[in-house]
């Protein structure tokens, strides 16, 4: 398979201890390691070079005593310092930008090696076709735009109904407007402040539902279902609706201005399922409206979209994983299909305990599998 390099922003150095960085490990060991031996005289060889990015050093200590391996910058600063027992060997991975460095093998006075790093720096080795991955990201970006558009119109219709005092209409529109939101939730979560004001649950606040900080979808949901009326004593739904309009508009502007990175897309699929498995399986997300199945399904759809876009790439690098994910999605889809009611889903109350267990196991299996996709592509998640 052809390996391509991809630019990643702000990739920090990661160092793996010897034995943890074999070929199956980090997904970035495809470049030739830089081999350095610590001899009695110092470094051997004395001139080494590598391409910028994650550089693997294969270091061996030929001395009769424990010795040190250090990489120095020009300043000089010690970037990495490793001790090796006598006759021991180890592999270290270091992320290095283009430039000149020095290596110390043993004492600073021993013969040093000059290390030249060429190229752009900050590169990791991609295991899938870059053009195809880029195409998937482009398609996913278009999907996100579609969803933000639906979110924009859906929110307006929903908040209009709230402002008009039409409780029944607002309740119907609530489950609908949650769908585009839940499909792209991991992208929205890249902006935690917006996410917090729009999608927090009462649990996040000290005074729970009564907390003045409790705003967004679930505060309105609480007002509509638990209070039953618009303009009830506790919840000022009109001002919550006005706030939601403003917050959603701000978030959409942020999301639309975002250049989606491939790992945000692939990891986002895993994050959607984690989210559903963590908080939706219990019926706590939509606790007042009981519309959990609709948002649960939207999480699954959002993850499914990513999977569909990258499946051809995944089958190239890990057919077994691809097959397993396909099976997982089918299991979840079949379960969801049992509870379809009209255009939406049954109330979460109606999900039997047996099916709740099946949701748990199938979502856990999907989480385990989707968590491997990003790494299988040679992509790294940068926090």
């Amino acid at each position: 398979m052809r390996c391509t390099k991809i630019l990643l922003a702000a990739l920090p150095v990661a160092v793996l201890v010897a034995g943890c960085s074999d070929d199956g490990g980090g997904g970035s060991a495809a470049t030739e390691p830089v081999t350095v031996t610590l001899t009695d005289a110092g470094c051997d060889p004395t001139v080494v070079s590598a391409t910028g990015g994650t550089v693997t050093f294969a270091v061996k200590n030929d001395r009769d005593s424990k010795a040190e391996f250090e990489i120095l910058s020009k300043t000089p600063e010690i970037l990495v310092e490793k001790f090796l027992e006598s006759k021991a060997a180890g592999n270290f991975q270091v992320n290095l930008k283009a430039g000149s460095y020095e290596i110390i093998c043993g004492a600073p006075s021993d013969t040093r090696a000059a290390l030249t790093i060429t190229g752009q720096g900050d590169v990791a080795v991609l295991k899938v076709d870059k053009a195809a991955l880029d195409a998937a990201v482009t398609a996913y970006t278009a999907y996100v735009r579609e969803q933000t558009k639906a979110l924009e119109t859906g929110t307006k219709a929903f908040t209009d109904a709230v402002r008009a005092g039409d409780t029944e209409k607002a309740k119907t529109l609530y489950a609908q407007v949650r769908i585009p939101w839940e499909r792209i939730e991991p992208v929205a979560e890249l902006f935690p402040d917006s996410d917090g004001v729009i999608d927090s649950r009462a649990d996040d606040f000290e005074q729970k539902e009564a907390d003045p900080e409790f705003t967004g979808f679930h505060a309105i949901e609480y007002g509509l279902w638990a209070n039953g009326t618009i303009g009830g004593a506790k919840v000022d739904l009109v001002s919550l609706a006005n706030g939601l309009d403003k917050d959603i508009a701000a978030l959409i502007a942020l999301v639309n201005g975002l250049e989606i990175q491939p790992q945000v897309m692939t990891n986002g699929a895993a994050a959607l399922i984690e989210e559903a498995a963590n908080t939706k399986i219990t019926g706590e997300e939509e606790r007042y409206s009981k519309t959990d199945l609709a948002t649960f399904a939207a999480n699954v759809e959002g993850a499914r979209k990513v999977f569909d876009l990258v499946e051809v790439l995944l089958s190239g690098v890990n057919k077994k994983l691809d097959d397993s994910i396909t099976k997982d999605f089918t299991t979840v889809d079949d379960l969801l299909a049992k509870y379809k009611e009209g255009a939406g889903y049954a109330s979460y109350d109606k999900v039997t305990n047996g099916d709740r267990d099946k949701f748990k196991t199938s979502m856990a299996s999907l989480s385990e599998d989707l968590a491997q996709v990003t790494g299988s592509f040679g992509l790294e998640v940068v926090e």
Partner: protein, 418 residues
């Protein structure tokens, strides 16, 4: 009508009780006299095995070497007045002295409920048991006339941005921390203490935990948390008295009520870990989030657990990300030195939550001389850290660990209440 069987049984029990009493009077095992406070007072113990002295300028369980088990129990105080509060502290002190010294309760007539629960047998090894009493901010409300005595920096634990606050199972007027090398030693002590104080104290929340301490040089220990990472590596050297005075113990002359000298601010946090999610996160991502190698515990620019990270030569975060937990918690700058604190936490495992995921996490405990400069400053730096996605603080509280009791007739809280 009398029941002959019952009479016989009662007699047998009485005889057994008399037998135990005989042993109790002469003492079990090798009694030892321990004098730590230097004022002539001694403490009598049943066995020196794992005995941690109660008496001293500071309470035990703070700079004591980390035991393998620990629990914290927080209580609401229902004592009616100051007098009852004093009674409560006196009786808690008496029981604390007894159980830390390995003394099982008095032997009573078998027709009465026994004094000791005997879950450890009548012969108790101290087992490194420590009991630490700490008071919460709410004790200083208007109930006991203690408002003016409140430690200056003691506040009710606020809700930090990533918290899921549960006020009913956080905070509390009084916190008892019990640590020992076995879980049942802690349980035994808790039951003895609660029995002593039942009329004044009602449980508000509690949690028990475990760790496997790993000795590091210079009086330090580290443990592995349930994320599988070394925790406490950069902890303070508890054998360094000057360092403890600088960072852990409130000093005479501090901007604090006089009675607090020798005590310490205690921050407790119940931090749930999303362990399933964490376990399916790439190793490299985990290491970058924490800032250490998972296997060795070494910082990312070093090779040994005890290596000190050199962030000053890594200003562009080429080696250790700025968002790495250990870099945020302790940036190792002169400016942040004042936030050094002593961590002494435990892992917990409570079964599972309704979503079918394990309910595990960290019972975080730390001690410091200044709560604002210590835990609060550290947490403010950690707000928004990459690790937040995997952890959820769900409880805990801020407390003040009382100063120690140096005299044989002294009691915990004496300087606060008399």
């Amino acid at each position: 009508m009398s029941d002959p069987t019952r009479t016989t049984l009662s007699r047998r029990r009485l005889l057994a009780a008399a037998g135990v009493a005989g042993v109790g009077v002469t003492g079990v095992g090798a009694a030892a006299a321990i004098n730590r406070s230097g004022n002539g007072d001694t403490e009598t113990v049943t066995s020196t095995k794992g005995f941690v002295p109660f008496q001293g300028d500071h309470q035990s369980g703070i700079v004591t070497p980390h035991q393998q088990h620990g629990l914290v129990a927080a209580f609401n105080v229902t004592a009616r007045d100051r007098e009852s509060l004093i009674e409560m502290f006196k009786s808690l002190t008496a029981t604390t002295r007894d159980v830390m010294a390995g003394r099982s309760g008095e032997v009573r007539d078998a027709l009465l409920p026994p004094d000791d629960n005997l879950i450890l047998s009548p012969q108790i090894d101290p087992d490194a048991l420590t009991i630490t009493l700490a008071v919460g901010e709410s004790l200083f409300d208007d109930r006991f006339g203690l408002t003016a005595q409140k430690p200056t920096r003691l506040v009710r634990m606020p809700a930090f941005p990533n918290d899921e606050p549960h006020p009913d199972t956080s905070h509390g007027d009084l916190l008892i921390q019990i640590c020992a090398d076995h879980d049942d030693t802690c349980t035994h002590a808790l039951r003895r203490l609660m029995r002593t104080s039942r009329k004044y104290l009602t449980l508000r929340w509690m949690l028990s935990g475990f760790v496997r301490p790993n000795e590091l040089p210079h009086g330090r220990t580290s443990v592995r948390n349930l994320l599988g990472f070394k925790d406490g590596t950069a902890n303070l050297d508890t054998t360094d008295i000057a360092l403890m005075n600088q960072h852990v113990w409130v000093q005479p002359g501090d901007d604090e009520p006089k009675w607090t000298a020798g005590g310490s601010y205690m921050a407790v946090r119940v931090i749930r870990n999303r362990v399933e999610f964490w376990d399916r996160t790439a190793l490299r991502t985990q290491e970058l989030i924490i800032g250490r190698s998972k296997a060795s515990g070494a910082p990312l620019d070093g090779s040994l657990e005890t290596d000190v990270p050199r962030y000053s030569v890594d200003p562009d975060a080429r080696v250790t990300p700025m968002s790495a937990h250990i870099r945020l918690a302790n940036p190792r700058t002169t400016d942040t030195e004042s936030s050094l604190l002593l961590r002494r936490g435990f892992n917990y495992s409570l079964g599972f939550t309704p979503n079918g995921q394990l309910d595990q996490g960290l019972l975080f405990v730390c001690f410091q001389r200044d709560l604002a400069k210590g835990f609060i400053a550290v947490q403010e730096r950690l707000n928004g850290e990459a690790l937040e996605e995997y952890i959820k603080p769900i409880g805990g509280g801020f407390y003040f660990a009382l100063p120690g009791v140096a005299r044989g007739d002294g009691w915990l809280g004496e300087d606060l209440l008399s």
